[in-house]
């Protein structure tokens, strides 16, 4: 009997030892809104997950999770099955994330592009993609011959409007005659429709195609038509080697690795992160040599200045379409204004769909 008792005691000590040493089974979960093969938004989050895995941390992921009731079920499932840190990577997961966080105070949550941190175990993070748009605008303003930039937009949310404005402001600065033509496709992802939108813009005189949708169809259409284009979310160069001038790349990997390690080591704290070129969360793809050495140099300098904070994408004076002042001379737009941006700046044609 005593023999058995000791056996149990020893096992108990071992078990205790293992559970205290939680590093061994520290797990990170990811929830994606799209398929990992979308080659855009979710693809880049998945690259981030791969980096966490490469850092020696165990991860799991669930893809194509619809925003809404399903999301809560999936997040809860991950929390219940012993995940210590959970990344929820779409705006629509905001409420479900906070709801589950309430019931699992020991699990850490990271929600992308949201603003609700109702519990101390919820952090939010996003990237300043608009800084990349400023660079695209500068390049577009210099490269266009027809002075017409075609912009394929998805949904009228601040994120998208901010991109249109940042691009237009930068293009106007180098080319006052610039016109931005916008086509709303009301989808993040429909290659056929995106291609048609690109073609329509090209037929209407745009010689630069820019997109805020996720597929590679617009850049391929631009390549075929012999006009310039820019890659979105990931480096799309190989889809349109001649046409693509550069790409805006979302690089979540460093942030994911940093936060995963912090959570594992117990140094994780609630925070709201909005990183840009400076931290590398927004990166630029290789610049096309067709831009010419001078312009590449110019843009690289601008990229450095944006990263260092010497130049801000939204520096006054900025006017809206009616001519009302939005940002006074010498001032820059604050993060609150950027986060809620819902009007076009002067020089953008058309109305924002309501």
């Amino acid at each position: 009997m005593y023999k058995n008792f000791f056996k149990y005691l020893i096992s108990a000590i071992f078990l205790l030892g293992f559970s205290v040493n939680s590093n061994a089974d520290f797990k990170v979960g990811f929830v994606y809104v799209g398929p990992t093969g979308d080659h855009g938004w979710t693809f880049q989050h998945h690259e981030g997950r791969n980096a966490v895995e490469a850092a020696g941390i165990k991860t799991t992921f669930v893809e194509s999770v619809p925003e809404g009731a399903d999301a809560e079920r999936v997040i809860r499932q991950l929390a219940q099955s012993g995940h210590d840190l959970i990344f929820t990577t779409s705006f629509g997961y905001m409420d479900p994330t906070n709801k589950v966080a309430k019931d699992f105070p020991n699990v850490k949550f990271e929600h992308a592009t949201g603003y609700k941190r109702e519990h101390s175990n919820v952090s939010t993070y996003s990237a300043r993609f608009y800084e990349g748009r400023t660079l695209l605008g500068h390049i577009a303003g210099k490269m266009t011959k027809t002075n017409t930039i075609g912009y394929i937009a998805s949904f009228p949310i601040p994120e998208v409007i901010r991109g249109i404005n940042a691009m237009t402001l930068a293009a106007q600065k180098v080319n006052p005659n610039i016109k931005t033509k916008i086509v709303w496709v009301f989808t993040w992802y429909d290659p056929g429709k995106e291609a048609e939108a690109a073609q329509a813009l090209i037929d209407q005189g745009a010689d630069i195609i820019m997109q805020h949708t996720d597929s590679t169809a617009p850049v391929q259409t631009a390549e075929k038509a012999g006009v310039w284009s820019f890659g979105q979310a990931s480096d799309m160069q190989r889809f349109a080697p001649k046409s693509i001038l550069t790409s805006i790349i979302d690089d979540w990997a460093p942030y994911y690795v940093e936060r995963a390690i912090a959570a594992r080591d117990g140094t994780w704290k609630q925070q709201d992160t909005w990183h840009g070129l400076k931290e590398g969360m927004v990166a630029m793809g290789p610049y096309n040599s067709a831009m010419g050495a001078d312009l590449v140099k110019e843009v690289e300098q601008l990229q450095k200045d944006l990263a260092s904070g010497k130049v801000h994408s939204f520096t006054g004076p900025i006017y809206d379409q009616k001519g009302n002042i939005l940002v006074a001379e010498g001032k820059v737009a604050d993060d609150g204004m950027l986060a809620g941006m819902s009007v076009y700046v002067k020089g953008v044609e058309g109305d924002i769909p309501k």
């Binding site: 979308d38 992802y189 048609e196 073609q199 329509a200 209407q204 597929s215 391929q220």
Partner: protein, 310 residues
């Protein structure tokens, strides 16, 4: 710019190109439905065709094999549907829906290693004539062979259904399988053939997207076109020519509304985006008012399970 005559030619050419997948898938589904089988798996068969075509193109570097392979893959996946509904007598609607879900999932799995590979240029015919003849050039020439086939298909289908004996057999099976069976027609065999033919056309429609229209593979790239094709068949009241008209209107207004946005028309964008759906339904309803003709074309036993009494 929009009134420029040669520009209108280019516009019509691109409208034709955009309606090809709808014409192919809807024409295939039309034959399936005329035989009395409702296959809601169009979207699933299309996406399987898209990935099979693209994968074969990458592996074999041969576009002919890719096109034929995509049709074969449509046949194979529709065979599953055929076996379940015709041999095991499962419910058409539920099985078709399952086929779509299965197709989307399977294609995503098969396509994992093909994401991010650029497609290959698909050869176009008469490209020199396209440039040299204003207006008619871009309408009639410079398209892929699949487009010419797609535009011939509704007429061939119409001829098949109305003028051939086999067409009559298909219609008989769709209208009254019991009578057809009593006449010595093998109802199950006819329905199998129609299902497989529908699968082949849906596969081709998918391959048109992944090989010709936007040459690449991305998950879920059919983006709901299968459902639009299904709706077209119903609103066109099972008439092949009306399917063609409907597909052209849908493709046309989709592209026109994008142009209207680019030009800067002051019309609410949401309204413009809904316009293709609205206009297609309105036009098809208006041109199919004749209730006698609708009765003539509607497969009476659509979606009903046929038991052969022994």
């Amino acid at each position: 710019m929009i009134l420029d005559i040669s520009f209108i030619g280019i516009l019509i050419g691109s409208i034709m190109a955009s309606s090809v997948p709808l014409i192919l898938a809807a024409s295939g589904e039309l034959i399936t439905e005329r035989s009395g089988v409702l296959n809601l798996g169009v979207e699933g068969m299309m996406i399987i065709g898209a990935i099979s075509g693209f994968a074969l193109m990458v592996i074999t570097d041969n576009l002919f094999i890719a096109i034929v392979g995509s049709m074969l893959s449509g046949v194979i996946i529709s065979l599953i549907f055929g076996f379940l509904t015709q041999s095991l007598l499962t419910n058409h609607v539920a099985t078709g829906l399952a086929l779509t879900i299965f197709g989307i999932g399977l294609s995503a799995m098969l396509g994992k290693s093909f994401v991010g590979i650029p497609g290959k240029e698909f050869p176009i015919l008469f490209s020199s004539l396209k440039e040299s003849i204003p207006f008619f050039g871009p309408i009639l020439f410079g398209h892929s062979i699949v487009l010419y086939f797609a535009f011939a298909l509704p007429f061939l289908t119409n001829y098949f259904l109305k003028k051939t004996k086999l067409g009559l057999v298909v219609r008989a099976v769709g209208d009254s399988p019991v009578s057809a069976s009593n006449q010595g027609i093998n109802v199950i065999l006819v329905r199998y053939c129609c299902i497989l033919y529908g699968g082949a056309m849906c596969g081709l429609a998918g391959a048109y997207l992944s090989l010709i229209y936007t040459p690449q593979w991305i998950e879920n790239m059919t983006a709901g076109r299968g459902w639009i094709a299904l709706a077209l068949v119903v609103f066109a009241t099972w008439s092949p020519i009306k399917v063609l008209i409907g597909a052209l209107i849908f493709g046309g207004i989709t592209i026109l509304q994008l142009h209207m946005q680019a030009i800067g028309f002051r019309i609410p964008v949401q309204f413009l985006s809904a316009l293709p759906y609205l206009m297609t339904i309105i036009v098809l309803v208006v041109i199919s008012r004749d209730s006698r003709k609708i009765k003539l074309n509607t497969p009476t036993s659509l979606g009903r399970i046929f038991y052969k009494e022994k």
